[in-house]
């Protein structure tokens, strides 16, 4: 079972139930007018910020192309870059661990926890820890886990999953958060964002100082010199990484880049596409534990390199490009489907268009291939992607891969076989046109027929077209005769 399904909130009994559950959540979220209002406001503000920030780039399109080619280069020599990263990090006293799947990553973290008597963990924001279900796992082992990113902290208090890979609490209003803080932290009701932030800060401060271990993700790793880079806006990432005596970072193997200079492009690129900022407030590099003569920093620094399906994607020339993703969230913000249903509907760690590309390939095509159909293929995602991933084209490949092993429905399979046999012959096509004209006419006259299959779904909100008496082709043919 894919690691993500261990979470009972997303558990399904068979492959197909994931698809059914998705449709149920989709229907429910699409009719939630409050959610729609929040998403519209938030995403409009985001788009305006990105638009304003574009003036900082001499040529944004050239920057995208350069970023794409650098990522492409890094992905194509991932093996040697990762070894170089390990060698350089180890030389400064970092312990580098390799995890081929979520279970191995959790085992590695368990060992570090056990050997060091860790009882409390403070966390920086990390989608990779979401991917392996780390919080639930540590809590089950009686380790206290506190999220220190404000958005993550809020959803942790609510017992929810992140709504969006960059903006985990995007779906909540100030008054939702105030009500939550009132209930969980005894903070008097207020509509003032600063007061709420200060309350969270006060609550967290002692946790930073008491935590035995800080766990973070990494936005990039640089092979030479060996280091990881963390981008954030709240300073909680630096604190999580440097205040406790142990820092453990976990990252997907696709995040490594060869050279430090490349961050001069990738840090502003990530900030631009993620939040519409010129540069996020804090960009910190971590290359090892406290060195001799240094006054601060953790005693131990561990880096867990996670595969968890990524080498499978690497081995597939069609899908390899999806490993270029820097998890900026731009495609989620641009996607009209995300704008209508939000992140929770997807039921996977990585939501939105890029999530629908990679989730089936990380977690199973049969179980999660249906996500590739949750797209009108409009291509807005690829248009905004800062590393030029052809997201919607990969969705098409995913669809083909799903249909090969498990077509969504028998009716559909037979339908497309019939379509194929019809369209290879002009005679059959002309007959089909006449048949469709009759059929459409009949459905108009007998409303009962609208209750079935795709016709029912179409006519739930739309009329069916009234067919023309003669088609364009028929008119031309008629003209030629006379």
């Amino acid at each position: 079972m894919p690691s993500y399904c261990r979470d009972p909130r997303f558990q399904g009994d068979d492959g197909l139930s994931e698809a059914r559950d998705f449709l149920t959540r989709e229907r429910e979220k699409a009719s939630d007018q409050d959610l729609k209002g929040i998403l519209r406001r938030t995403l409009t503000n985001h788009h305006l910020a990105v638009e304003r920030n574009e003036a900082h780039w001499i040529d944004w399109q050239v920057a995208r192309s350069l970023a794409a080619s650098w990522k492409h280069d890094a992905i194509s020599r991932l093996d040697s870059l990762l070894e170089e990263l390990e060698t350089n990090l180890t030389a400064r006293g970092t312990v580098v661990h390799w995890a081929s799947n979520a279970d191995e990553a959790l085992d590695i973290i368990d060992t570090v926890v056990r050997e060091n008597g860790v009882q409390s963990v403070i966390k920086g924001k990390s989608m990779t820890t979401e991917e392996i279900g780390l919080n639930e796992h540590l809590e089950a082992g009686a380790v206290e886990v506190v999220e220190s990113d404000l958005g993550e902290f809020i959803i942790q208090l609510r017992g929810e999953k992140p709504f969006h890979i960059i903006t985990p609490a995007m779906h909540l209003t100030k008054s939702d958060i105030s009500a939550l803080f009132e209930e969980k932290l005894d903070v008097p009701h207020t509509d003032d964002a600063e007061t709420l932030t200060r309350a969270a800060r006060a609550h967290m401060r002692s946790r930073f100082l008491q935590a035995d271990m800080g766990i973070t993700g990494a936005n990039f790793a640089i092979a030479n010199p060996g280091l990881i880079s963390i981008t954030e806006n709240e300073g909680n990432g630096i604190l999580s990484a440097s205040a406790p005596r142990i820092h453990l970072a976990i990252m997907g193997i696709e995040k490594v880049l060869p050279q430090l200079e490349q961050l001069a492009l990738f840090l502003p690129l990530l900030s631009h596409s993620g939040t519409g900022q010129f540069l996020s407030c804090y960009n910190s590099f971590f290359g090892g534990p406290r060195q001799t003569g240094e006054r601060d920093g953790p005693e131990q620094f561990h880096l867990v390199l996670l595969d968890n399906g990524r080498t499978g994607i690497l081995a597939d020339p069609e899908q390899r490009e999806s490993l270029q993703c820097i998890r900026c969230g731009a495609c989620l913000n641009a996607c009209p489907i995300f704008r209508n249903i939000g992140g929770h509907a997807y039921g996977v760690t990585y939501q939105g268009p890029i999530g629908s590309v990679i989730s089936p390939n990380l977690l199973g095509v049969k179980e999660f291939g249906h996500l590739s159909f949750a797209s009108s293929l409009c291509g807005k995602c690829a248009e905004v992607c800062p590393v030029r991933i052809n997201i919607h084209h990969h969705l098409l490949e995913n669809r083909r891969n799903l249909v090969k092993i498990s077509p969504p429905s028998t009716l559909e399979r037979h339908g497309f076989r019939g379509y194929s046999r019809t369209m290879v012959s002009a005679t059959r096509y002309r007959m089909a046109v006449r048949f469709a004209r009759l059929g459409l006419g009949m459905i108009q006259r007998v409303p009962f027929l609208k209750r079935f299959g795709p016709i029912q779904k179409w006519t739930a909100s739309r009329t069916l077209p009234v067919p023309a008496r003669t088609s364009f082709l028929e008119q031309v043919a008629e003209e030629r005769k006379s």
Binding site: A374, A382, R400, Y419, S420, M423, R462
Partner: protein, 209 residues
């Protein structure tokens, strides 16, 4: 106009049925392969021929070369008129206010954005207005329209509301598929706007619509 033409294969291709789409694409090559230029009033069909034939009929396919050749000579109507024929005024007249909807495939796969607008601006009696977010998808998306009906409908309503908000009498685009969906919504939900294909306007000689 070859009367043996049928379909480009996109419905099957987009739905994941590539094996079923291959013979349809081959039929397209049979019918159209010998022509110098191929024009279609659908950005979506042209995208299929120009970009996806080579995904479907890959290097291993015996007709991969033909697929590559046909890609270069297949054009969307507006791009053919403005780009190839260098015609921005087709002598049409149509007395109405019109909002142009950027159909996704035409816009993002073929970069057709300015051509239809220029053609419309030169139609006598026609006032072209811009709706809010003209580049947003209308929500059709082939089988998406049925499979994900609630989202498809919401996207369509948003598009129509933007078009109505722009003061347009008509929402116009390059693709019949968008119009099938939008017009279905207009009729079922009594939205005060009408839908037309751009070819219908370019062929019009009406001064009052």
């Amino acid at each position: 106009m070859p009367l043996d033409q049928t379909c480009c294969g996109q419905p099957a291709f987009n739905s994941g049925y590539w094996d079923e789409a291959v013979p349809v694409a081959e039929h397209f090559l049979d019918v159209f392969g010998t022509y110098d230029q191929i024009v279609s009033p659908s950005g979506s069909c042209v995208t299929m021929v120009r970009h996806f034939f080579e995904k479907l009929l890959t290097d291993h396919h015996p007709r991969a070369r033909e697929a590559g050749e046909i890609a270069g000579k297949t054009h969307e109507l507006c791009e053919f008129l403005v780009g190839t024929l260098k015609t921005e005024n087709v002598g049409a007249s149509f007395g109405a206010t019109v909002a142009y909807h950027d159909a996704c495939h035409a816009l993002r796969e073929l970069h057709v954005k300015e051509q239809p607008r220029r053609l419309l601006q030169n139609v006598s009696g026609l006032t072209l207005v811009e709706m809010e977010n003209p580049e947003n998808c209308c929500g059709f998306g082939g089988t998406f329209a049925a499979k994900h009906e609630p989202v498809s409908t919401a996207m369509g309503r948003e598009k129509l509301d933007a078009a109505v908000g722009s003061g347009a009498d008509y929402v116009v685009t390059t693709d019949s598929s968008c119009l099938l969906h939008l017009n279905g919504l207009v009729e079922a939900q009594e939205v005060p706007i009408r839908c037309l294909h751009i070819a219908e306007i370019l062929a019009s000689r009406e001064t009052t619509a």
